[in-house]
Subunit: 246 residues, 2 copies
DNA sequence: TTTAAATTGTGTAATAAATACACATTCTTT
DNA sequence: AAAGAATGTGTATTTATTACACAATTTAAA
């Protein structure tokens, strides 16, 4: 193995040059991916957590994560974890931040790359029978294992920001949704109340909603119309998302 | 060493459990930090690059990076690199993204965390005599070593976005600056032309600029007034940055 | 010393976007 | 048949964005 990686040689700083023994003994870390998987159900934003089986954090909730495999890209690892846990593969997924504090894992140094994912909770409802996995209300998440609360908070903040810039929210909804459901979703994500008329005006003026000429069923009040998001039109559109400034 | 990290046991997926031998042999990677250091000089946005001394990329330009030390947090590593190269320590620095494609480094798997930094180029002009280090015009950066072009592009995009949301730009300017310099900076970062009167109106209405009652010197035309950014007022302000939508 | 060149400093009118706000309608439940 | 609950709709006000022109100041050149 030739000169590789990085090392300081005397006073002169060289780029990416070191010797094999250093690499093996000191400069390598374990690398994991943790997924913050969001869902939306009963008008609440949810996050999918698993009970930790690590000694120090036994019984506490943690994010879904795993070590990155030797021949696996980071995004691939994130999709693998999601697939294993939910069975879903064609969903929104995005890298959020990397957490690498020296003592974040009790056993050894583990650097973790956090990913945020948005899924339609109905699509995989059946797989969460396992009592180690649970959908938690986002607003009632408090203590978590490791530094996962910090990772979760960071992801939620980023979601709140991103959802104003891009039409991400639809990934969390059923294919057919009412405007009330859409507004409830935005209110849940942004943790705020929105004016109903202005919300509707805004979404209709963007013109990416297709009226399905159907109405809700089984609601104890006047049913609303159902819509779907026009992904094809969105993809063609040059200006894309106008931005949502509530 | 107890059960640690992550492993699949049969069909059941466990969280963070594995055995020592796996950790050492397969699941560890080299971890580096790469800094995209931006500066502003002669009305152009610049990036600080170093000539690569790696065999495959010899002579090509690369970002300033180094392996993360065993007992070093990621942010610390980024600040260390910046300090070593520029002598500056109290500057804007922010994690951008992590790049971990399997073959991004020719020698072995090296996952790198990219950081973006904004510095006042005047403050360390003297240290860049070394001909391996060079300030490049951002718009003329083309080929780079490794996947550094991709890292650079990602960082520049993020900078363009962040500078509209937060008052970052001032880190790139001298303490005293004219409004023309400020506008030139924004035009350089955003790669666009802005209306001078609207730009001034916008910044004055934010009310974070302190009029220093001084004027520029040595300009071949009517000199402009000098200002500084009121960081104290900004920190106290509840609404912070109004957002710049050009 | 006069003139040309360059850039600063300033305000208003027009357009677009965000906000606040109320009532009739439709469907379900009792 | 009446009460409850949520849908569907429009306008007026305020705020932000954009487009745009001319006099004043300084330096450099004639």
């Amino acid at each position: 193995m030739e000169e590789l990686l990085a090392k300081k040689t005397g006073n002169k700083i060289k780029t990416f040059r070191t010797i094999q023994s250093e690499v093996e003994s000191n400069y390598h870390v374990a690398l994991s991916v943790d997924c913050v998987i969001f869902g939306f159900d009963e008008n609440k934003l949810k996050v999918l957590l698993i009970r930790s089986d690590i000694k120090n954090y036994e019984g506490q909730w943690s994010l879904l994560g795993d070590l990155v495999l030797p021949e696996e890209n980071l995004d691939k690892a994130a999709y693998r974890i999601l697939k294993e846990r939910t069975g879903l593969s064609d969903v929104f997924m995005e890298q959020v931040h990397t957490f690498g504090d020296v003592n974040r894992h009790p056993a050894s140094r583990v650097v973790t790359v956090a990913y945020c994912s948005l899924i339609n909770i109905q699509h995989h409802k059946l797989k969460i029978l396992d009592n180690e996995l649970h959908w938690h209300d986002v607003e009632s998440v408090t203590e978590m294992a490791f530094d996962h609360k910090k990772i979760f908070d960071t992801s939620l903040c980023q979601l709140q920001k991103r959802v104003k810039e891009h039409p991400l929210g639809f990934s969390l909804l059923p294919n057919k949704f009412s405007l009330r459901e859409l507004q409830n979703l935005y209110e849940a994500i942004l943790n705020t109340k929105l004016d109903r008329r202005n919300f509707r005006k805004k979404f209709f003026s963007m013109d990416f909603l297709i009226d399905l000429e159907e109405i809700e069923k089984d609601v104890p009040h006047r049913p609303g119309k159902l819509y779907k998001f026009d992904y094809a039109k969105f993809d063609r559109s040059p200006k894309k998302w106008a931005g949502i400034a509530f």
